[in-house]
Symmetry: C2
Subunit: 317 residues, 2 copies
């Protein structure tokens, strides 16, 4: 097999050029067929250089201080020489067309840090589309030399499951209000968490400690999803910086305790399966007349044939 | 078009024979190709006779008293001459193979009522599979003359969204513990609710009233999803029967306030689209060598090619 000429962005991207990275991610977000082909060439070019980062998913209900926490953690890491990329997954921005997350004003210090790169959530498209683009953005950031990837989600939807399927571990941020701290956190999200952090511990240390104890109890009730690792509960204050090193120590402890290679291989298989399903569906759509699908759907809605009959008729044609 | 001979179960089903209904639902749950074909013929036969029921989804966290509430509501309706079918959707039973919901011992009075029919959650298959079978079971129950279909979900997963897509309205059951009543309820589920009921109001009337007020406040914060209907919050006691008629009155009020025909047409379109996607995927799987997919997935996991390249190679072949 002859080696094809690399994409023009490949070399500057591998050299860690921030503008090339931004352009590359934009390319993966485009729906123009020629852009898609280019993006896939670029990804194939850089894939051998990807995979060497710590991938952390972060979530928490609105008001928990996600931006401030991510900024505190990010600046602390970047100051030590880590290269930190922050990506956001917000499917609601897919509906509104605008991105409410990842805008740079939320993280003023990290935005101007020479070791950091912040990318808002891709807008437009389905949750699946946003998730796919985020997976590709992780690959591109890694190829550009970023060794810590923080993926932020809004914490109110199904994007957490998607992000847990592309990160090494998942951090759940909560609040110190005793009695309220579990309120609003979906059990399903709790079950994804590897590290729980009671944020804003500076506002009320006693309440934060109580919340931490309650979280610990709640975590013991759940079946560990990444045995032998047992999810931990910590306290931190993004404002004072207190607890941030301890959070990172737990991230490292998690990575040492679990078989990360096996986890990532399984994640890649899921990625492949998702893409395959999507591609099969797109190929079908391209091969049939959209009007034909529409007509069949109308017949089904009118009750003249069952949905299954409509589907069968469509597949026969 | 010549009329094909109806399926042997069609006439007894339309006559309302309970055994024929049970057999028909079992047929739709089978994965044997000849059973699937028979089930589709049967559904086509009876579809014109379906659609004449009140379809209610019900959910609530474990411990809220779902079974007792559904039994109380069901018996109250059946005593008035309504024919009541209870279906359960529990995707967790798909994993364990056994059904934890819908077993008849949970609703002893309703089980023996001549006007009622209780069907446990289909086991095996994905959440999508369970949902599809539940849609078909609704159609079959309606064809058998049941005019109230209560669809129960476990309240901890994604099945609520699926059930909301096949019922006329959604009832959320909660507990009177003030401060706790919103705990554990996912915001997403709350957003689906058309009628909220504080159950077990007999245990502590004061707390139940407080919980009702808090629920009302919480509901006003959400964007109404079925305008002009605004979700309501009620109190009830499944044990004493208190509040049950009021819940049913709100179900009727909802149906009068909203354009149910439009909602059902939209639901049918979603059903059709889901089935089409699933059928396209199954046809693809039938046409390729499973070993070939497996080999490509292994290559992707080993990092020798990107997921997108693997998918493209598979589609070319």
């Amino acid at each position: 097999m002859s080696t094809p000429t690399p994409h023009p962005l490949t070399l500057p991207l591998l050299a860690g050029e921030r503008r090339a990275l931004a352009k590359a991610i934009t390319l993966t977000e485009s729906t123009r067929p020629d852009h898609e082909a280019q993006a896939q060439q670029l990804l194939a070019d850089v894939l051998p250089r990807a995979g060497k980062s710590v991938r952390v998913g972060l979530t928490g209900v609105p008001g928990v201080g996600k931006s401030t926490f991510i900024e505190a953690l990010g600046v602390w890491l970047a100051d030590q020489g880590h290269r930190v990329a922050v990506l956001a997954v917000d499917p609601s921005s897919a509906r509104t067309g605008g991105s409410i997350m990842g805008d740079k004003t939320r993280m003023p210090q990290l935005t101007v840090h020479p070791n950091a790169y912040i990318r808002p959530s891709p807008s437009g498209g389905t949750l699946g589309g946003v998730a796919r683009r985020t997976r590709e953005a992780i690959t591109l950031c890694e190829a550009a030399g970023f060794d810590v990837i923080l993926v932020e989600t809004v914490g109110v939807g199904q994007s957490e499951t998607q992000v847990a399927a592309m990160t090494d571990l998942f951090v759940l941020l909560t609040l110190p209000n005793a009695g309220d701290e579990l309120q609003g956190i979906k059990r399903g999200i709790m079950e994804l968490a590897d590290v729980c952090v009671v944020n804003k511990a500076d506002t009320n240390l006693q309440a934060a400690t109580r919340a931490q104890t309650e979280l610990r109890t709640a975590l013991t009730l759940l079946t560990p999803h990444d045995a032998p690792w047992r999810p931990v509960a910590l306290k931190a204050s993004a404002l004072s910086g207190q607890g941030i090193p301890e959070v990172w120590a737990q991230v490292q402890a998690y990575r040492e305790a679990t078989d990360l290679d096996a986890k990532r291989r399984a994640q890649t298989a899921v990625w492949f399966d998702d893409l395959l399903r999507e591609a099969v569906w797109r190929r079908f759509q391209a091969g049939v007349d959209a009007g034909q699908i529409q007509a069949m759907r109308a017949g089904v809605q009118a009750g003249t044939l069952t949905p299954v009959q409509g589907v069968a008729a469509l597949l026969r044609s």
